[in-house]
Symmetry: C2
Subunit: 251 residues, 2 copies
DNA sequence: TTAATAGTGTCTCTTAGACACTATTAT
DNA sequence: ATAATAGTGTCTAAGAGACACTATTAA
């Protein structure tokens, strides 16, 4: 649509060029905080840097935005290259634009956070990760016990966590961290590790079932020598808004 | 702090250069949706484009990010150049990174929204706007009656509005649209034009006063031939969080 | 005195949150 | 039978929202 206008206008008047190479052009990077739930705790994926700056330090997966890709595409590409994962919930977080973020020079970073369920990750991860650019190592870290990380990536993780904690309160984002079928106990544990708080079992189940977004699959999950749990599925394909209560919400 | 590390590391190992000029570097712009309340309606400031692309069309104030300024600084600078305003509430919104946003070529746009009160704007505006780059015209448009705008600026305004509507529900952002001293009726009208809904007077006043964030200035505002209204002031210097109720908020 | 806005309380209903026991299965 | 987790209901208190009249001033 904009291209249509452009074509139209360019016939009558020349379109001025953008700032030329070498003047006000910038290196733009993407950095992604990928979360999952594993061993009853919320984890974020870090990669070990092989080259300076910060060689040997842990950092978020990410890289430079190329010339022929959108910023979102760059984020997906980097995630795919460094983890092999292709289908994730991905959401833009914030753009960090200070001058001294990177010791190499001025780099503007568009940060994202992403959610995967642990099972899906284990299946796909590394099966298609790029050989040549393979990082020295990738590891999940509990968000409560992060190592020292490179650049301002600590700030990005903090900001992603804050967003995630807000988001699970009024959207169905938490479901992105679970497999397609899950028990209510698993769902509750997901909320608990995200929020960092224990929740009341009866109140939790009451609220979740009231929302009408869960489908009883009629299947059971046998996990040990105890009563098997019902498996539920989320009814929506996408992350949806569950409510929007505020101080003043006359909608 | 990162500079400290950089200095340390550069002594032992060379820091690789960023992508060179002319390869994967990008033009980065800022676009700002500046809101105010005027004549009982929520307005956004648009500027008339003097040069292609989209000559004669309305667009959001904005421009390219320079080499020696942070992205936030660029947003403030553009706002100052095009409106003369220096002190506003400014918050980053979203980064639009698609390839075909601009007919001139690939431009990544970091969008912001800003809030000013009409009185402050009338005093400062244009008193210090840059002469040379002065746009053909700037005008306030009611958000309900926007003209056709250039680029994807419609999307930016929509996104800014959505953010503003959410934000006033759980923070004190709406106060940024009012002068230092205001009546409760003015505050209510601000919420009404932002939300696009009438609100109940008694419930509104009850809730606002309960929050404990308003100081009675003991002054009155005489406005016509009716009972003068109390003038209140907001007790906080900054925008604060008023509440954070969600589905599950055990904090 | 009148026009015009400021200012004020109560009641109902919904919802949040505290709280403890029974059910079902594998071993 | 026992260990281990699944699953279930009630009560209370707080808050949201509906609703209408009196107060005060300038003109």
């Amino acid at each position: 649509m904009h291209n249509g206008h452009a074509a139209l206008l360019s016939r009558s008047r020349a379109i001025p060029a953008l700032p030329p190479e070498g003047s006000d052009r910038h290196v733009v990077a993407v950095d992604i905080a990928l979360f999952t739930i594993q061993d009853e705790s919320l984890k974020v994926l870090l990669v070990k840097r092989a080259v300076p700056p910060f060689p040997g330090w842990w950092s978020l997966p990410g890289g430079f935005v190329g010339r022929a890709e959108s910023v979102d595409e760059a984020a997906l590409r980097e995630l795919q290259e460094e983890t092999g994962i292709t289908t994730v919930y991905l959401e833009q977080l914030y753009t960090f634009g200070d001058l001294d973020r990177d010791p190499r020079g001025r780099v503007i970073s568009v940060s994202y956070y992403a959610l995967v369920d642990w099972e899906r990750f284990r299946l796909k991860a590394h099966s298609s990760a790029k050989g040549g650019a393979k990082p020295a190592g990738t590891r999940w870290f509990s968000v409560n016990r992060l190592p020292t990380v490179a650049f301002d990536h600590r700030k990005i993780v903090t900001s992603a966590l804050e967003r995630l904690r807000n988001k699970v309160n009024y959207t169905s984002a938490a479901f992105q961290l679970l497999p397609k079928k899950f028990t209510l106990s698993e769902l509750q544990r997901a909320y608990e590790v995200i929020l960092g708080q224990p929740l009341d079992k009866r109140n939790f189940r009451k609220k979740m079932l009231q929302l009408g977004i869960l489908k009883d699959t009629r299947e059971r999950q046998v996990e040990g020598r105890q009563r098997p749990a019902r498996l539920y599925a989320f009814t929506e394909a996408r992350v949806i808004k569950l409510q929007e209560k505020g101080i003043i919400v006359p909608f």
